[in-house]
Amino acid sequence: MAKRFQKLKDHWREQRLFFSRVIAAAVVVVLLTGVLVARLVHLQVIEYQRFSDLSQDNRLRIEPLAPTRGLIFDRNGLIIAENLPTWQLVAIPEQIGDLDAALAELEELGLVEASEHAVLADLVRSHRGFERVKLRNLNETQAARFAVRRHRFPGIDIQEGLVRYYPFGEASAHAVGYVGSISTRDLERIDRRAYAATSHIGKTGIERSYEDLLHGQVGYRQQVVNAQGRILLDPASADAQASASWELETKWPVPGDNVVLSLDMRLQLATHEALAGARGAAIAIDPANGDVLALVSTPSFDPNRLAGGLSRSDFATLNADLDMPMFNRALAGQYPPGSTVKPFFGLAALQLESSLAHEDISCPGFFTLPGHSHRYRDWRPQGHGPVDLRGAIVQSCDVYFYRLAVDLGIDRLEQTMKAFGFGAPTGLDIMGERAGVVPSREWKREYFPQPEDKVWFPGETVITGIGQGFTLVTPLQLAHATAVLAARGASYQPRLLIGTEDAVSRDVDWAEPAPLGAVEASEEHWAAIHDAMVGVTKDLRGSGRTSMLGTSYVVAGKTGTAQVFTVAQEEKYDADEVDERLRDHGLFIAFAPAEAPRIAVAVVIENGGGGSSAAAPVARKILDAYFAEGVEAAAAEAGTAAIGRRAAGISAPSFGALAAALGPAEPQGEATHVPR
């Protein structure tokens, strides 16, 4: 019966229950207050003396300690990026009285530039009081000039630091990238705590994409300083006992990992030299694994000037240069591929069993679509006479490929291009890659806003067949596709990083090549295309013959010439310049040795004229450097050492063996693995 009554509210019982809960709550409140008071007594009575000392004229300062940035090596252990000691001018915001006056005085001494005043002031103000803000690097004279006047600048100091140094300078700039001062924009994307002591951050290339690996972990130490910021107690000093009584903590920074790149600096330097004076790009890839052996874009810039703290005006000049030295043509330059597409379409003709594949055609020097009068001209006005597929590749006959394009149709051309990786970034592990354009019906429909432009015209198929029209490729895509062609369809994602070395344990972690979907074609078809490409460099009528005369290795290549039919809209009119800039782009792709390819190369020379005259000689120099006997032996030695390490998984590699053998590229190039 009692159960039924429970549904009614029993006010008396409820009130009693509530009262007991309030009493319990009151007890908890009192207990917690007791805990609070005990804590206050602990801080204010028991530890009073310690805290009082800390606050009155002593302060506990936390000094963040910068990690040493990881080094960058090439595949043979040559140092591409290292850290050199330097002097840095630093500001400690909380100790500076009048920031503007201090900066003005530094300007008078020629230690900072007047144009940087506002930027530096902002930088200092955006940091917390105890942080050391790096203003700029000083050379020894400047450091001495400041040192004698140090007393006049409370809160400004010089400290020893490390500056990033790239021994190969311009030659490595576009592949490796550079570090620069952390800008206010960078501050938004990084964990400010992790960078509390760091002044520079990777801006482009490897330095940017592997920033997390290279940077390391920040450390700190607690110091006791007086009101003027003078250090009274430092855990790093000898007075360990005194430090212990202050409970000073030190956490040392963890240096960043070293990274090993696939680049072969010897080849990289030769490539850079071969491109000297030209606007262009060249890339060499190992077809067996996608390793990028050389990646050069010219004109280039000196990364050391940027790492050392380039003034704003210098940076602006660099950026405004009409030749765009900061622009990475190898990844972001997009060019019509011209006749370099012919081997790829030739393979498609064989594989897709086009009727033209085994037919001789007669080339009159022009082609017309049935029912149209427009003449699509061959580069050779008198024509090539009777040609088959091989002959069309060797002589670069346009008419054959006009007909082939019409026969295959745009959809198959598109499939072929995409199978070799055109039209999408290759996935190289540095940023800034462009996708290029593989034209198709769908692309045209999406790309053009006007309905009348969205239709695909037969004439557009014709010129796509010789790599003109809408098609755009990057030099990197071209090199990658050539590597796939060389490897008979086996495809690897191009990569620059092949290993990371733990800076402390020296254990090297080698990365496995990343295979991509292979291009399927029958063995004899690959052989036929390879044979035709060898013909390009060996046959009497081969378009690449003159550049490849007398090689000790057999080269399979293909020339390309891309018409620059429009002047870029934003380019200003300048009679001398425009004339030069209207000239054709020269392209050349090659792999060697043709029978067992070890290297695939793509060269693009902007406005260089034809592919055979401008680009092929550059490729020749690159290949010669790669197969040069003496160096090849040295590389083989260092290479086998590296490969041996990789195979056996042995750690602690002895880098730098090759450096002496090669002789320094520049005086500083001798740098070997600096022990830290």
């Binding site: 809960r21 204010q44 009073y48 606050s55 700190y220």
Partner: protein
């Protein structure tokens, strides 16, 4: 004005003397006097924390006036009306939270503030009151202690808004809303066995959760629990505030003489860390006075709760008083390095409008509960 006791029908009210209009005004003098004492102490500390600048104190006194108005308005509303409005209020605040969420989604910015043109306020602050009110409303006509299914409903009522606030992300306020709701449930008399059961469940779940977390999540939890392990970030504030408190000693360095605060070592010294400024300048003695005043408020609130005549008022009064103590404890605990850093202001002392006004409104509700009691025949 003098205090008088007026017989009026079957009700007894403490009212203000003077003009007839004021005679019926419900106020609770012990509450109001203590509130003003704490706020006054706050002005003194704020003046020092602001670098002897009066404008901050002026702004704070404007906030206190608005708070007083809120107190008086709330004190005049009989609890039964509050009870009737509670579900609507709860739903409205939940709607506002949703609005802030959506707006923040669009604006990609901070998701806490709702801009009403004239004033901007944080709906999450309102939820600190709305959540316990909803719990009290849900339980007011049910037999206490609540049954298991009822408890599950209540958990939803509490955890949905708390979760939304934690998502903003404002974990601190989310936890406070949850604790306000849970305190109400505990006051309602959940059996000790259930409390122990949940406690045991949490003890078991914690290590499981810990193991299943990613490394970086664990690191974040560790920094949250022990900020001093991160002296370049969150730990900096705590290290400096401990120095401020410790160096204050027994009697303090004296008003306007705190070096930590005046040399700008102490962060957020007029808002979340004002407790440290007071500790530095007034020492343990000054803090004791403040803590006693806080305890008086909490004690008066619990007394009002015990005296209250219906379940809703009882639970609400108890919850308001205990939540208030939680604010004090969390802020003081955080500043003195006992608790992790969550952005909770020191009640009635820290500079800031939303907190001041909502707290005064809450105390207005206490005054109303006490002032609108019916005299029952014994």
């Amino acid at each position: 004005m003098s205090l008088g006791s007026v017989e009026w029908g079957d009700k007894t009210r403490k009212t203000l003397g003077g003009p007839p209009l004021l005679r019926n005004l419900v106020v609770d003098m012990p509450l109001l006097v203590t509130l003003f004492a704490i706020a006054g102490l706050g002005f003194v500390v704020l003046y020092s924390a602001n670098g002897e600048d009066l404008s901050g104190v002026a702004r704070q006194s404007v906030r206190l006036s608005v708070g007083l108005a809120a107190f008086l308005v709330m004190a005049q509303i009989p609890p039964r009306y509050l009870r009737l409005w509670t579900p609507w209020l709860y739903c409205a605040v939940l709607g506002l939270l949703l609005a802030v969420m959506v707006e923040g989604e669009i604006g990609k910015g901070a998701q806490r503030w709702l801009d009403l043109g004239v004033v901007r306020f944080q709906p999450s602050e309102l939820m600190k009151l709305a959540a316990p009110m909803m719990v009290a409303w849900f339980l007011h006509d049910r037999t206490l202690p609540p049954t298991m299914p009822q408890l599950l409903v209540l958990m939803l009522v509490i955890l949905v808004p708390a979760g939304m606030i934690a998502e903003q992300p404002d974990l601190g306020t989310g936890l406070l809303v949850a604790s306000a709701g849970i305190l109400t449930v505990l006051l309602a008399g959940v059996s000790v066995r259930i409390i122990a059961g949940i406690g045991a469940l949490a003890l078991v779940a914690a290590p499981v959760l810990w193991v299943s977390m990613m490394d970086y999540q664990r690191a974040r939890v560790m920094t949250f629990l022990n900020p001093e392990s991160d002296p370049l970030g969150a730990g900096y504030n705590i290290i400096q505030s401990k120095i401020a408190i410790g160096s204050g000693g027994m009697f303090g360095k004296g008003w306007l003489n705190g070096t930590q605060a005046h040399l700008e070592f102490l962060p957020e010294r007029s808002t979340d860390f004002i407790f440290a400024v007071m500790a530095e300048e007034f020492g343990l003695l000054g803090l004791s006075v403040l803590l006693v005043l806080y305890l008086v408020l909490v004690g008066r609130g619990l007394y009002i709760a015990v005296q209250a005549q219906d379940t809703f008022s009882r639970l609400l009064a108890g919850a308001i008083s205990l939540t208030f103590f939680v604010y004090v404890f969390v802020n003081a605990g955080m500043v003195s390095g006992l608790l992790p850093v969550v952005g909770v202001p020191l009640p009635l002392v820290s500079a800031g409008g939303t907190s001041m006004v909502t707290l005064m409104a809450c105390f207005g509700i206490l005054a109303s509960i006490h002032g609108h009691r019916k005299l029952l025949a014994a």
